[in-house]
C-alpha cells in the first residue's frame, strides 16, 4: 500500500504525463510483436526437427502478426507517411528508433518465410528467411519492454529489470498457444513443452516483479491493470493445465483440448500486455506513484548522509549524498 497521508501534490494533479497512446494500438502492438517474434523461433525449431505442420502454422501467424502490429503502429501515428520519419535516423538512445529498424529488418524475413512456405518454392531461400526471422524474432519480442520501461512512468520504469523477461515469456506463451491451436496434434509436443516453460516462468516473474516494486505494484493489482493481470494469470493456468493434460486424454479429445489450451494461452498473453499497459497509465495518472518513491529515495539519502556524518565525523562539510563532481575522472 502506498502511504497517502504523508504525501502532497498540486491539487492531486499528475506530475508526469501519461502516454496518449491508445491501449488497443500499443498493447495490441506489444502482443502481436511478441506472438510474431517468438513464433519465428518456434517455426525454425519445427522446421529443423521435421514438423512441417507446426512450421507452416507459425510462419503464417508470425507474418500476419507482424503485419498487424505494423498496421496498429501506423494507426497510432495517424498517417502512414509518418512512419517514414522513424527511419530518418538511427538513435540507440531511443528504443522506438531501434525497434523501427528491427521491425524493418524482421518483417520482410517473416513475410518471405511464410510466403515461400505456402507457395512451396525456393526452399533454400525460405530456410534462410526462416533462420533470419528466428534470430531477429527474440529482439522483436523483448524490445517493446524496453520501449515501455524507458519512460518516466513509474510502473514501467521501475520494472525495467523484469519487464523484458516477462515480455519474452509472454511472447512464448502466445506463440506456443498459436502452435497448439493450429498444428496437427502429433507435432505439438514441443509447443506443449514450451507452453509449460513459458507459463511457469511468466507467473514466477510477474510475482517477483510485483514483490520488488512494492507500492508501485499497486496498479498491477488494482483497477483495470489489476483486472487484466488477474485474467492473464487465470488464463495462463488454465491453458498450461489443458496443454499438459491433453496427452493423457482419449485420442479424440486431444486435438480439441490442445486447441482450447492454445486459445487460452493467446488470450493470456494479450491480457498480460493490456495489464502492463493499463498499469503504466494508472501509475502515471496518480501523482502518489511519482512523488512517493522519489520522496522515499530522498529520505533514504538523507538518512545515509546522517549516518555517514555520525560515523565519519572527520570530513567536515562533505555531503556524502552528493557524489564528488570529479568522480568520473578515472579515465
Amino acid at each position: 500500500m502506498v502511504d497517502r497521508a504523508e504525501f502532497s501534490s498540486y491539487y492531486g494533479r499528475p506530475v508526469i504525463k501519461a502516454p496518449s497512446w491508445s491501449a488497443q494500438d500499443i498493447a495490441g502492438y506489444f502482443f502481436l510483436g511478441g506472438l510474431a517474434g517468438a513464433g519465428s523461433v518456434l517455426a525454425a525449431g519445427a522446421q529443423l526437427t521435421g514438423r512441417p505442420g507446426m512450421a507452416r502454422v507459425l510462419k503464417t501467424t508470425s507474418a500476419l502478426a507482424i503485419a498487424g502490429s505494423g498496421a496498429l503502429l501506423v494507426h497510432d501515428l495517424g498517417r502512414p507517411s509518418r512512419f517514414a520519419n522513424m527511419l530518418r535516423v538511427f538513435k540507440p538512445t531511443s528504443p522506438m528508433s531501434v525497434g523501427s529498424w528491427l521491425l524493418t529488418g524482421y518483417a520482410p524475413l517473416a513475410g518471405l518465410a511464410a510466403v515461400l512456405n505456402r507457395a512451396g518454392r525456393l526452399p533454400r531461400v525460405g530456410a534462410a528467411a526462416t533462420a533470419g526471422a528466428a534470430v531477429v524474432g527474440p529482439a522483436i519480442a523483448t524490445y517493446t519492454a524496453v520501449l515501455a520501461a524507458d519512460t518516466a512512468v513509474p510502473a514501467w520504469h521501475d520494472a525495467y529489470r523484469e519487464l523484458p523477461a516477462v515480455f519474452a515469456a509472454s511472447a512464448l506463451t502466445a506463440a506456443s498457444g498459436a502452435a497448439l491451436l493450429g498444428s496437427p496434434y502429433s507435432e505439438t509436443g514441443p509447443a506443449r513443452a514450451a507452453a509449460l516453460l513459458a507459463t511457469t516462468t511468466e507467473l514466477a516473474l510477474v510475482r517477483g516483479m510485483r514483490k520488488r516494486l512494492g507500492p508501485v505494484a499497486e496498479p498491477y493489482e488494482q483497477g483495470r491493470g489489476g483486472r487484466c493481470m488477474h485474467a492473464a494469470e487465470v488464463l495462463t493456468g488454465v491453458g498450461a493445465a489443458a496443454a499438459a493434460c491433453s496427452p493423457f486424454l482419449p485420442p479424440p479429445a486431444r486435438r480439441p483440448t490442445a486447441a482450447a489450451a492454445g486459445l487460452a494461452l493467446l488470450a493470456a498473453s494479450a491480457c498480460t500486455r493490456f495489464g502492463v499497459f493499463h498499469a503504466g497509465v494508472a501509475s502515471a495518472e496518480d501523482p502518489v506513484y511519482t512523488v512517493g518513491p522519489q520522496r522515499e529515495r530522498l529520505e533514504e539519502r538523507r538518512r545515509a548522509a546522517e549516518a555517514a556524518a555520525k560515523n565519519g565525523g572527520t570530513s567536515p562539510g562533505a555531503d556524502p549524498s552528493v557524489p564528488p563532481s570529479g568522480g568520473d575522472t578515472a579515465g
Binding site: S20, D150, V153, D286
Partner: protein
C-alpha cells in the same frame, strides 16, 4: 570512463558542445525566483502571444487563481497558485532538513482533497517574509505561493533521448527544442519527460513545448516571458551566472529568517544533470506539482538493453529446451 554513459547521466558542463555544436555560446537558462512572483500571469500571456500558441480551452478549475491547470502542448508557461492555510511560519530552525516535517500538513489539497488531520496545527509563529509573498501582519492564516513553471531544458533531456525521429534537438544555446516539421507524432517524448512538460496537440498529434524563444535568442533578445515579467521573478541569462545569483539569493533569504527557501533543479549532480530552468521554492517541490527527485529515464537504458538481451537469449534457450525435451522423449509426448 565510458563516454556514452557520461552523455546519458551525470554532470555535463557543455551539452551544446557534446551535441556537436562547434564553439557554442554560453548555455543560457531561466532562474525563477518564486518569492517575488505576484501571479500576474504576464509571462503566460507573453508566451502565448509571441509563440502564437492556439487557445486550449477556457475553463474554471477551482484551483485558486490557476485556471490554466498545467503545462502542455499549448501552455508553455504555467503559473501555479497554492493557498496554504497556516500562518507564514518560521519552521523550527536547525532541524536536520526541512524535508523532514514539511512534506505534509500544508498541501493545498492532499491527494483526493484530503487534508491530513492534525498536522496543520504545528506551525509556530507568524514571521514576516522580506521580499517574499504578501506577508500580512499576522492577521491572516493564508500563505499564498505562486510559481511560474516552464520546460526545464534538462541537461539530460529524456524527451530528446527517446525521440526516434530526431525532431527534438539540442540547440547551440544548450536548450531543447522540437522541430515541428520532423516530429511524426509518435508521442514517445510525452511519458519520457520526468516533469510532465511536453505534450501532443490532439488535432494533429505532434508534440509541442517551450523553445525558450529560440527565435528571439537567435536575435540576441531574451525570451518573451522574462521580458514581460514585471518583478524579475523570471530571470534569463547565462546559466552559470544565474546559478551564482540564485545561491546568493537563498543565502540572503536564510539570513532574513526564511529557512524554507530552497533551490530546485540547480544542481548539476541531480538526476537530470541539472535543469536549464531552475527555481527558488518556498516549500517542497511536490507542493508545486514538481517531482521531488527526478531522474532521466535513459540513465538506466544500457541496463535495460542488457536485461532485454538476456531475455532474448532466454527465449531462444527455452525454445531449444522445449524441442530438445521432446526429441529425447523426456517431455510431453
Amino acid at each position: 570512463m565510458d563516454r556514452s554513459a557520461d552523455l546519458l547521466y551525470g554532470p555535463e558542463p557543455d551539452p551544446a558542445g557534446d551535441a556537436g555544436h562547434p564553439d557554442p555560446p554560453p548555455r543560457v537558462g531561466f532562474f525563477t525566483d518564486t518569492t517575488v512572483c505576484i501571479g500576474c500571469k504576464a509571462c503566460e500571456v507573453a508566451c502565448k502571444e509571441w509563440n502564437a500558441i492556439p487557445e486550449d480551452g477556457l475553463s474554471l478549475t477551482g484551483m485558486s487563481y490557476d485556471n490554466t491547470g498545467g503545462l502542455g502542448a499549448s501552455t508553455w508557461r504555467h503559473v501555479a497558485f497554492i493557498e496554504q492555510s497556516r500562518p507564514v511560519a518560521a519552521p523550527a530552525a536547525g532541524g536536520p532538513s526541512p524535508d523532514g516535517h514539511e512534506g505534509h500538513g500544508h498541501s493545498p489539497h492532499g491527494h483526493a482533497g484530503q487534508e491530513p488531520a492534525g498536522s496543520a496545527g504545528t506551525a509556530v509563529e507568524a514571521a514576516p517574509v522580506a521580499g517574499g509573498p504578501p506577508a500580512p501582519d499576522g492577521r491572516t492564516e493564508l500563505r499564498w505561493l505562486m510559481s511560474s513553471d516552464v520546460c526545464k531544458h534538462c541537461t539530460h533531456a529524456a524527451c530528446l533521448d527517446v525521440c526516434p525521429t530526431g525532431a527534438l534537438f539540442r540547440t547551440e544555446f544548450g536548450t531543447v527544442v522540437v522541430q515541428e516539421d520532423v516530429c511524426n507524432g509518435c508521442g514517445y517524448c510525452v511519458p519520457a519527460c520526468p516533469y510532465g512538460v511536453i505534450e501532443q496537440r490532439p488535432d494533429d498529434g505532434r508534440a509541442f513545448k517551450c523553445t525558450m524563444c529560440y527565435d528571439r535568442l537567435g536575435d540576441g533578445m531574451e525570451p518573451a516571458c522574462a521580458k514581460a515579467c514585471p518583478t524579475d521573478s523570471i530571470q534569463f541569462g547565462p546559466l552559470d551566472e544565474l546559478r551564482e545569483r540564485a545561491a546568493l539569493r537563498v543565502e540572503q533569504l536564510h539570513d532574513l529568517g526564511v529557512p524554507e527557501a530552497r533551490l530546485y533543479g540547480h544542481d548539476p549532480d541531480d538526476g537530470v544533470g541539472g535543469d536549464g530552468a531552475f527555481f527558488l521554492l518556498m516549500d517542497e517541490p511536490e507542493v508545486y506539482g514538481l517531482p521531488p527527485d527526478p531522474v532521466v529515464t535513459t540513465r538506466d537504458l544500457p541496463d535495460m538493453w542488457r536485461h532485454a538481451a538476456r531475455a532474448a537469449v532466454g527465449l531462444l534457450g527455452a525454445a531449444a529446451l522445449a524441442f530438445a525435451a521432446t526429441a529425447t522423449g523426456k517431455g510431453p509426448r
